[in-house]
Structures are given as C-alpha cells and as structure tokens.
Symmetry: C2
Subunit: 193 residues, 2 copies
DNA sequence: ATTAATTTAGTACATTTGGTCTAAAATACA
DNA sequence: TGTATTTTAGACCAAATGTACTAAATTAAT
C-alpha cells in the first residue's frame, strides 16, 4: 500500500482494514505509522546485511562493487516507498533520520575505500583534481537515493526488471569516464553480460 | 509553508489562517490545493522564461549552459517544495504531471543540442560509446530533479547560497570527465571565479 | 444612485484520522 | 483445569479536513 499509494495516503486504519483486523489491534503491535515504517526499515537493513554476507569477495573489486549495486537496487525496489517518500519520512521520524545519516556515512566511507582500491588496481584513473572523486560519490548518493523517485515519474510503464537494470546502469556509468583502458575493458565485460 | 512543512502537511485552512482570510475565500480563488500548486508552478515557469530571455547568448556555449544551471537552481530554490514533494504532486495532479513531462522532454532535447554543440566546438570529447551522452543527460535529470531533496536531508544546516553552489557544482561536474583539454581549461575558468 | 457582479465570511455537515479505554477472546502456562 | 498473559475487537472522542450553501460586504458599472 505504501508503494502504490504513497506513505501519506495510507493510514493505520486503512492498513488494518486491508489486513482484516481492527485498527486497535494494529496499534497494539505498532503504536503508529512511524514505528511501522521503522520495522520495515529494519527489514531492509537485514536484507542488505544478508546480501553483504552472500557476496563472494574473491572476485575482483569492480565486480564486487557492481553486484553490490545490482542486488542493492533489487532489494530496495520492494521497499520503494521508503526512497520515494524519503523526505517525508525523515521529516517526521527523527530517530530513523539519524539512523539513516549514520548508514549514509558508512556508505560514503565504503565508496571512498573502494575507489582507492580501484585506483591502486589501475582500473580507475588517479584524481587529477582535489577531491574529484568526492563529488562522484555525492553524485552516486543523489542517484542512489532518488532513482526510484525518478523511475516513478519517467518510467511508470516499464517493468521492474527493466527499471532496476536501467538505473543501476545509470549509476555505474558515473564511473565510466574515469576508467583506465583496462578498467574500461573490465567494465564492458561486466555490463554487457 | 509548503517549503517548511511539506505539501502534505499544509491544508487550505492552514493557509487561509496564515493569510488572515476565511478558508471559503481562499477556495473561491483556488478551488483546492492542486490548483494552488498549479498556479505556483506557473510562477516557476514564468521566472524560468524571463531567465531565458535575460541570458546573453553571445557568450560561449559552456558559459551559457552553466549560467543557465546556476540561475535555474536559484529560481527553483524558492519553490523547493515543488521538487521535494515532486512525486506526491505528480501522483495527485494528472494535468501538472503531463505538463511536467512535456517540459522534461524539451529539457532533454536542449541538453542534447548543447552537447552536440560542445562536441563540435571541441570542448567535450566525442562519444566513444553509443548513446553515452544520453546516460549523462539522464544523470543530469536525476540530480536536477532531486538535488533539493538531497540537500534537505544532508545539508539541513547549510545556508541557501552554499547549497545552491555545491549542488550546481555537482551537476556541472557530470561534464567534467568528458571535457577536452581546452574544455577543461574553460571549465576551470568558469567554476573558480 | 441604483443595480449587478465580485469577493468575503460564516455555518454546517459528513468523513477521516489518531488516540484512549474497556471488555471479550485466545493463548500460554502451571 | 484454572489462572495469568497476550491478543483482538468495539465503542467513543476530539480535532481536522474538504465541501457545499447562504448571506453579507465590497467593488464596478451604468
């Protein structure tokens, strides 16, 4: 219901009606919409965690990064309301907000580390300007946070698989112009298959 | 009120209270929140139009493009609710939705033309892959549509000028790795000043 | 100055919502 | 089996919202 109607258009009472239970019952388990959303967020985190464990870290750095992106996109798609109504949710749930910021910080550090690795492996070009890649990471952040919003507006008629594929491709292509020759070749191998 | 509280948290009655008029009076002029938002959108369009007229087209292509971005960001900042609640608004206003899609199409064409010009002027590198720049334009679209949402979450404590500057810089840097040597030099001249 | 049109305010109503309280039903447990 | 705990439902309430209708006030026009 959150995914299709948007968080602001779904009330506790509507959810309980859909579930066929009384609204008091739903409130008994989740005292309001915010705690319900927190529980759903916990589900997202757990899915992301088990994803992280399942990834084979023996593969090359770029491949690990890209499968991480692909799988991450798949997971969040099922909870797309969370990203589409992100600002609404963050505005009205301080606890979730600070938790989200913490996770974002980790994500930033992870990308920074990965990029350093990729530079060391001569897959990415070294920085020519100061903090050049920091900008790239911020670009990544905006697209990671809002690709689902963008898809809702511009790709309403596409199917989920296509949407996920096209936007994860969009994200990966942020690296594209920074690739070395060998990086370029690897990129092509990873993305055409 | 839309900017600070979010569209969904502001009612016709709250607006009329703030204005010191009766809610029936407000409804007399704008029959509901949607038509009110449409009117505000019209204001945005008019501001954008007069911006377009004011820009000196004698300057070089990149400079025209970049001042366009800067000024555009400044304009939309005043109506940031529109971008932050974009999906909510589009979901609930079919007319505005189709109008928005039309404008987006124009924006896409404009960028395509500009990029072709910049390639011809040897400021941007020619495409090495098929539709490579189409991806860039889509990246531009996501950031253009959602930089204000991102800023609301990650830069809540920054002042407007800094926010506008940092995110317009983020957008411009999408072009950065595609610049030729001369393009690079021009870019630096335009962005450091 | 009188009339017509526009603008404004007030009231009333049905609906929805979040919340609280109480009691019944179901379940677990000893 | 009897008791305690957990779960569920129902009723109730105050607040807010959109909407519709009526009448007064203001403005414009002849």
């Amino acid at each position: 219901m959150f995914n299709s109607k948007g968080v602001s258009n779904v009330s506790i009472r509507m959810i309980s009606r859909e579930l066929g239970i009384s609204h008091s019952n739903l409130i008994y388990h989740f005292k309001d919409k915010n705690t319900l959303i927190e529980a759903l967020h916990q589900q997202i985190l757990e899915a992301a965690l088990s994803l992280n464990e399942s990834i084979n870290k023996e593969e090359n750095t770029l491949k690990v990064l890209f499968t991480n992106i692909d799988k991450g996109f798949e997971i969040i798609y099922d909870y797309r309301f969370f990203m589409i109504d992100l600002n609404l949710i963050m505005r009205e749930n301080a606890r979730l907000y600070s938790k989200f910021l913490e996770i974002e910080e980790l994500r930033f550090i992870m990308y920074k580390k990965k990029i350093d690795e990729l530079i060391a492996e001569k897959i990415l070009k070294p920085e020519t300007h100061n903090n050049e890649y920091d900008k790239v990471i911020k670009q990544i952040r905006v697209i990671s946070d809002y690709w689902l919003s963008s898809a809702q507006i511009y790709d309403a008629n596409e199917n989920p698989e296509q949407i996920i594929k096209s936007y994860s491709s969009l994200l990966k292509h942020l690296f594209f112009p920074y690739l070395t020759k060998t990086g370029h070749q690897l990129f092509c191998e990873l993305t055409t298959r």
